[in-house]
Amino acid sequence: MPTATYDDTVVPVDDEGFFTEPDQWTEAMAGQLAREQGVEDLTERHWTVIRFMRAEYAAKGTGPTVRVLGRTSGVSVKELYQLFPKGPAKTAAKIAGIPKPRGCI
């Protein structure tokens, strides 16, 4: 199992770098995670999404899709793409320290 180091703590991640143990994530790790995803500064709007991702994961066992985020997080899909240009669901999940959202097929 690969690992990564954030805020001087070694955490297990999957092959794509998503946390496999979300309990090991702390808010202090978010800044470095964000920079790795090309998001330089985490604004309050970013944090709205990050906290929402963690709450959804805790409640449902998977992160929401972009469409569900747009409907329920209070941040529109358009703004989500402005905040997380490389794909909001995946990028925000990574910064929020939760596993990759399971897409439907």
Partner: protein, 413 residues
């Protein structure tokens, strides 16, 4: 004591559920009522063939009530809402039904108006969907008129019914234009919000290989934000553009409208959250959902409804008898993927096992993840099985609810 089971929806899932229940209970034990808003049952797998002139629209539609066994009440009505606390279904024009068990089988609705510009200028002229009968017929006429240019097949976002149908459309378009002799004047592009041709790695590799072989360009991670019908542009939320002369769009899907009006019944997209193994509602034990209406991490496909049916009916029986539910749906899905030139692929998978190569249902069966004429014949034969075997709620010989393991080759990508 007589119980009343109300089934909302008489598509694939609702019809086969009601028929299976009727076989399990006689009329003194259980009253069964099925509700739907019209009388037209459309054979949805056939919609794919209409644009290419391979199926006649009228041949795909049959009467809903005539697919139901004797002793099932059919009520044609629009549903206003379900009151879960009062176990009551309210109709839009007044009237209601109370139930002991409710089965939600109202499928998925197309929501093209939720994408900016999709139903604006150009809709029905150069922007189409083949996911309903009028759209498929309109597209047939458009393809007949088409003399060359760029055709884009786009999936707006997931979940959608039959996630392979859009790929099949692209494959069949390649075949169609070759047959017309103008393939060299047609550019075909397949646009998807996924990071590959399909979600699961082994199948994604096989399917993207086929796209390449057929010279169909693949654009990935493209979530449709806006359609400019006049300018012939699809624009993604991250502001990439794909231009077209004809766009074939699979629009956003949601649950039936009344689900959103029924407090506590559905999720944010209008699908009904149920236990992924028992199909029982997560907070109302006398409510179940099946087929496309269910909010499950499974494909919205007819085969899923079929495999769920066996589990659902058994569990309803256990519930009414006051026993714990013991039947478990494993996520089994089975899809023929038409690839043109009288060939098709077959994929078979469940929650845990991705589509793998090998054979179905055992080592001597149909080839999996590989084009073959036998699979094409299987796809064509399925229509007869659908009306005469699947809808009446009979078992398909040799094909049960649980995904078969024999015949599958576990490979690493």
């Amino acid at each position: 004591m007589s119980k009343h089971i109300v089934v909302l929806g008489s598509g694939t899932a609702g019809t086969l559920t009601a028929n299976r229940l009727r076989r399990m209970y006689d009329e003194r034990e259980c009253r069964i009522t099925v509700v739907d808003q019209d009388d037209d049952h459309v054979y949805q797998p056939g919609l794919l063939f209409v644009p290419f002139g391979l199926a006649q629209p009228h041949g795909l539609v049959r009467s809903r009530p005539r697919q139901l066994h004797d002793g099932i009440d059919y009520r044609r009505a629009r549903i206003d809402r379900v009151d879960l606390d009062a176990d009551t279904v309210h109709f839009a024009v007044g009237g209601w039904l109370t139930y002991d068990v409710l089965v939600v089988a109202t499928g998925a609705a197309l929501l093209p108006e939720e994408t900016e510009g999709l139903t604006g200028p150009g809709w029905g002229e150069k922007v189409f969907t083949f996911y309903d009968l009028p759209g498929a017929i309109g597209l047939h006429h458009a393809l007949e008129r088409f003399e060359g240019g760029r055709i884009v097949v786009d999936v707006a976002d997931l979940p959608v019914k039959c996630p392979v149908a859009s790929l099949e459309f692209a494959f069949l378009a390649d075949w169609y234009f070759q047959r017309c002799g103008i393939r060299d004047r047609v550019e075909l592009t397949y646009v998807t919000p996924l990071d590959g041709a399909f979600t699961k790695p082994v199948a994604a590799k096989a399917l993207s290989g086929l796209l390449e072989e057929k010279s169909i360009e693949l654009v990935t991670e493209f979530t449709l934000g806006e359609v400019d019908g006049t300018g012939g542009r699809l624009v993604s939320y991250d502001e990439r553009e794909v231009t077209f002369d004809v766009a074939v769009v699979v629009p956003l899907h949601g649950g039936a409208e009344y689900v959103n009006r029924s407090l506590g019944l559905g999720d944010e997209l209008g699908f009904v959250p149920v236990d992924q193994h028992t199909l029982q509602h997560l907070s109302h034990p006398n409510v179940f959902a099946i087929g496309d209406a269910a909010g499950l991490p499974a494909s919205k496909a007819g085969s899923v409804a079929h495999f769920e049916g066996e589990v659902l009916v058994h569990n309803i029986g256990r519930f009414l008898a006051g026993q714990p539910l013991d039947a478990s749906y494993d996520g089994h899905t089975n899809c023929f993927v038409e690839t043109g030139f009288h060939k098709a692929l077959l994929i078979d998978f469940n929650y845990e096992t991705e589509p793998l190569p090998g054979h179905f249902p055992a080592t001597l069966g149909l080839p999996l993840l590989k084009e073959s004429h036998a699979n094409h014949l299987g796809k064509l034969a399925f229509e007869w099985l659908y009306w005469h075997n699947l809808l009446p709620g009979r078992e398909l010989p040799g094909i049960g609810s649980a995904m078969p393991e024999r015949g599958k080759n576990h490979v690493h990508v």
